[in-house]
């Protein structure tokens, strides 16, 4: 039975999300339905609840109507729960007495039938109202932070991130699997879009990192285990057979990518014809100046783009984003080295986005590089020469292009060990295998694991400027908890009703974090809230429900079940 003080006075706010929800769910009908639910004082609908006016609406209602609980029916709580909790708090309602009904991701976006979707949205709102009725106010909690950031990977992304962390005055630890810093980029002779020698800017970057007093570089090292949580990660690093523990507050993942292996595209004869190379191999040849094929300088060089990218059958549906510019760079360099040589780039589309991208493409053509539109289908031999069989789609004719050197512009793939890191840090991966960011627009460097951030090509293919930009963004995000010195920890911990506890100790057995312990004097369970991660394993195990997980108590869940089975 509710005391008068906690008697529910609930406000329900149904979001249109523009047309995202409103096109499929009759939001007006949902609000009208919610108005009649028990405990509901006010139900409204609005275009964007997360907007300033939307939040103001909630805050003002809370004060004016004396609300003590808020339900927002909109997107996933994974998206905007913090927003609406804050709004409620500002309106004088304890932020933990808010509940969200997910009527976008789990309703309007997955159903076409407006009537059925509206019906479902109503039920979801009723479920949220039932739950919020039983929610109790909770206090915000905080924990201390280990000052320092672990950076996994010593390529350009890792170097940039570590440097920013260190410059802000915090220790940074770079764990690099290989025996040197610089990653893939260190093997590039020149970079687009200006043909600058890589060493001109990479070597100083590496030197700054190596000489920085706040940066610890660990080469030939691997992360073995990660325990803890944001602010309090305990990382075990294995280096030369020795395990060592590093305590950090945040982690930046900068593990990079691997190149596509073109032997998976047998039609190009890679590995069969010495004249077929990858852009990676040509990069090394250009560095040494050795462009000889079959004993002589090539009279004709042909580039094939999108090798291993934009290919559903290979499971690589994405564009690797750099190959167009790499081909433009190398084509120009071949022209510079061998002015008599005909250089042709076969392409599907030329993607010259980014600063100076289009200009660089212009420069390539000005340098005499020919661009022909057509996705080369096959490479075979004719005498000493190689033949590309390709339809020039502008000519609308299939041609046999004779050449001496074929350069495959190979794309990027997620590293084979992505799964290992993913398992260590419980990071989800997107369907293409790269790490999944928390939100494609609002959280492009964040992950679903608090305190863990992504930088560079481990998240998706990108060029060096984008990689460095993301690395610096990841470093900034990683610095937030370090600078604050505290991190919010969940308030939704387990609690024990000592009156009910019989002291069986099963909660102690099932907790992976050692949060519950039996009080030696009273023989009842006590929860160490600092250790509790809020999984609820103890609560399920406790037969008398002497332990409950706050925000997920049996009353709350059973009230939801009751509404949902109607």
């Amino acid at each position: 039975m509710m005391s008068e003080k906690s008697k529910p006075r609930i406000g329900v706010y149904v979001c249109h999300c523009g047309t995202n929800i409103a096109a499929t769910v009759d939001v007006e009908a949902v609000a009208e339905y919610a108005q009649n639910l028990p405990g509901v004082v006010q139900a409204r609908h609005y275009t964007y609840m997360c907007s300033d006016p939307g939040q103001t609406l909630i805050k003002e209602d809370c004060r004016a109507l004396g609300l003590n609980r808020v339900v927002v029916a909109s997107c996933s709580p994974r998206m905007h729960e913090p927003t609406f909790r804050a709004a409620a708090q500002e309106g004088g309602v304890n932020s933990y007495r808010t509940e969200m009904a997910n009527i976008r991701e789990q309703c309007s976006w997955v159903h076409h039938d407006k009537e059925a979707a509206t019906r479902k949205a109503k039920v979801l709102v009723a479920s949220a109202v039932a739950k919020v009725t039983h929610l109790e106010p909770l206090e915000e909690r905080e924990a201390g932070v280990h000052p320092g950031t672990l950076v996994i990977g010593g390529g350009v992304a890792g170097l940039s991130a570590a440097l920013d962390v260190a410059e802000a005055g915090f220790p940074a630890y770079i764990v690099e699997k290989s025996d040197r810093l610089g990653g893939h980029v260190a093997e590039l002779g020149h970079t687009f879009p200006d043909l600058e020698p890589t060493a001109d800017w990479l070597a100083p970057l590496i030197r700054r990192v190596e000489e920085h007093p706040a940066i610890t570089v660990m080469l030939d090292a691997q992360v073995e285990e990660v325990a803890g949580f944001v602010g309090n990660f305990e990382v075990t690093v294995l280096q030369g057979g020795q395990a060592q523990q590093i305590d950090v507050g945040t982690i930046v993942i900068a593990t990079g990518y691997q190149l596509f292996d073109p032997s998976r595209k047998p039609e190009f004869g890679y590995g069969r014809y010495p004249g077929v190379l990858t852009t990676w191999e040509l990069e090394q040849r250009l560095a040494t100046g050795d462009l000889v094929v079959a004993g002589r300088a090539p009279q004709d060089v042909a580039f094939i783009k999108c090798v291993g990218s934009r290919d559903i059958q290979l499971g690589n549906p994405y564009c690797s984003r750099v190959c167009c510019m790499v081909a433009a760079k190398q084509a120009q360099m071949v022209r510079q080295a061998l002015p008599e040589t005909r250089v042709t780039v076969f392409y599907i589309d030329v993607r010259a986005f980014g600063k100076r991208g289009e200009e660089f493409y212009d420069e390539a053509r000005e340098a005499g590089v020919r661009y022909r539109r057509g996705n080369v289908s096959e490479v075979y031999r004719r005498g000493e020469r190689l033949v590309l069989r390709v339809e020039d789609t502008f000519l609308r004719r299939t041609v046999e292009h004779e050449t001496d050197m074929v350069v495959l512009a190979v794309g990027m793939e997620p590293r084979d060990d992505t799964g290992v890191i993913s398992a260590l840090l419980k990071l989800p991966r997107s369907a293409d295998g790269f790490f999944l960011e928390a939100h494609p627009k609002l959280g492009p460097v964040d992950t679903t694991t608090n305190g863990v951030f992504l930088a560079g090509c481990c998240q998706a293919p990108k060029d060096i400027p984008d990689t460095v930009a993301q690395a610096k963004a990841a470093a900034s995000s990683a610095l937030i908890p370090l600078i604050r010195g505290t991190v919010p920890v969940i308030s939704e911990t387990a609690i024990v009703d000592a009156e009910l506890c019989a002291g069986c100790g099963m909660c102690v057995d099932v907790c992976p974090y050692g949060a519950p312990a039996l009080d030696p004097l009273w023989g009842v369970s006590r929860i160490n809230a600092v250790l509790c991660k809020g999984c609820g394993a103890c609560a399920v195990t406790c037969p008398s429900k002497a332990i409950c997980l706050q925000q997920f108590t049996p009353e709350q869940i059973m009230a939801q079940v009751d509404v949902l089975t109607v």
């Binding site: 289908s377 075979y380 789609t393």
Partner: protein
């Protein structure tokens, strides 16, 4: 576009026009794209724009050999060749098809084979070979391609195969005159209804009624449709080169007589590209003592089509001057091989014919793999 896409879906094809980015991978790899007017990429484009010309005027639609190189390579999984099959279905519905193809279909309808030869004569090739009727029960059911059964050029290979399988102790059965065309080509020339209702429905019941553990086919075409399109339950479908490779590996088949020849091998599209059976035929050839095996340049996934598939056995094509088989026999000769080995009755017919036309008969003999194996059998054969 919608009409064509919908029609394709209705007849059970996985064509996906909207996925196309017009990259030209299909047309660039299409074996007839240089020698004929067929441009599969442009056909997809025209379909997307609802701008296809009158189909009856597009004789090149019948040039497609259904080698499926375009399907295998398309980065967006459009399955371009299925557009051609879709359009052929529309032509079939309106009755506007080349006369020779019509005759072949009539032959299958009346006699169970595209040659229009009498059904009673289907098993004549087997006289004296003592092949057990499948009805008596058998472990392995031999399924002969219509050409393997009727075509005098193919029959020696068929007979050789039986001798080899008998020598290896395989419990072999044969349906004889009950056997009817598998319909692989029927489906690909656009006679979907005949394929489904007459051939698959009756053929599936017939094949399953034998109770054999596996079916061995002489042709990659029969193999393809049985394996991928018939939905046979509880029967393993194998091409004969797979069976031979297995028998050799397990030691049941022993080859002792040297065959001192330099041999190269031509991958059939329906065995290689479409079903990824590349290694077994080569393993069989390499197991023949004394045989010097050499490869051409364009092999496996890059093998050149012989131009015999997709109904082309019954339709000359729009370019009779410049046939792919002509190129192919020349490529074989260039390797120094005396024998061009094949594993498909269509390839045998197309390539043997090309060798004859090109005057290469003296230099290059086109033979089925089983004809070479049988020579290596010794007394057992």
């Amino acid at each position: 576009m919608q009409d064509i896409q919908q029609f394709a879906n209705e007849i059970g094809l996985d064509l996906d026009l909207l996925a196309c980015i017009q990259c030209g991978k299909c047309s660039g790899g299409c074996p007839v794209s240089i020698t004929t007017a067929l441009n599969i990429r442009f056909l997809v484009y025209e379909s997307l724009l609802d701008a296809l010309p009158e189909l009856v005027h597009m004789e090149e639609l019948w040039d497609c050999t259904c080698c499926f190189t375009c399907v295998e390579r398309c980065p967006k999984d459009v399955r371009p060749a299925e557009l051609i099959i879709t359009l052929r279905n529309q032509l079939v519905e309106s009755g506007k098809i080349p006369g020779t193809i019509g005759e072949a279909l009539m032959g299958i309808f009346r006699q169970g084979n595209p040659l229009g030869l009498a059904r009673e004569d289907r098993a004549l090739w087997a006289e004296g070979l003592d092949v057990k009727p499948a009805r008596e029960g058998c472990d392995t059911l031999l399924f002969t391609c219509c050409y393997s059964a009727y075509d005098v050029q193919s029959q020696p290979a068929t007979k050789a195969l039986v001798r080899i399988l008998h020598a290896a102790g395989v419990d072999l059965g044969y349906l004889g005159t009950e056997e009817t065309c598998c319909g692989n080509e029927v489906k690909r020339v656009g006679e979907k209804a005949m394929f489904d209702e007459m051939l698959v429905e009756e053929g599936k019941a017939l094949l399953e009624s034998v109770g054999a553990r596996c079916i061995v086919t002489t042709s990659p075409h029969c193999y393809n449709t049985f394996k991928n399109e018939y939905g046979l339950e509880g029967i393993e479908v194998l091409h004969y080169t797979q069976v031979l490779a297995r028998l050799l590996e397990e030691g049941q088949l022993k080859l002792s007589v040297p065959v001192e020849k330099t041999v190269t091998y031509h991958d059939p599209c329906f065995l290689g590209k479409q079903n990824k059976v590349f290694d077994e035929p080569r393993a069989v050839l390499r197991a023949i003592p004394g045989l010097n095996f050499v490869e051409m340049d364009r092999i496996r996934e890059r093998s050149l089509c012989c131009e015999g598939g997709g109904g082309r056995m019954w339709f000359e094509g729009t370019n009779t001057e410049d046939r792919l088989a002509f190129q192919r026999v020349q490529e074989a000769v260039d390797t120094g091989a005396e024998v061009l080995a094949v594993a498909c009755p269509f390839c045998l017919a197309m390539l043997a014919d090309a060798a004859k036309v090109k005057g290469l008969e003296e230099q290059l003999k086109v033979m089925d793999i089983s004809e070479l194996v049988v020579q290596a059998l010794g007394d057992g054969g």
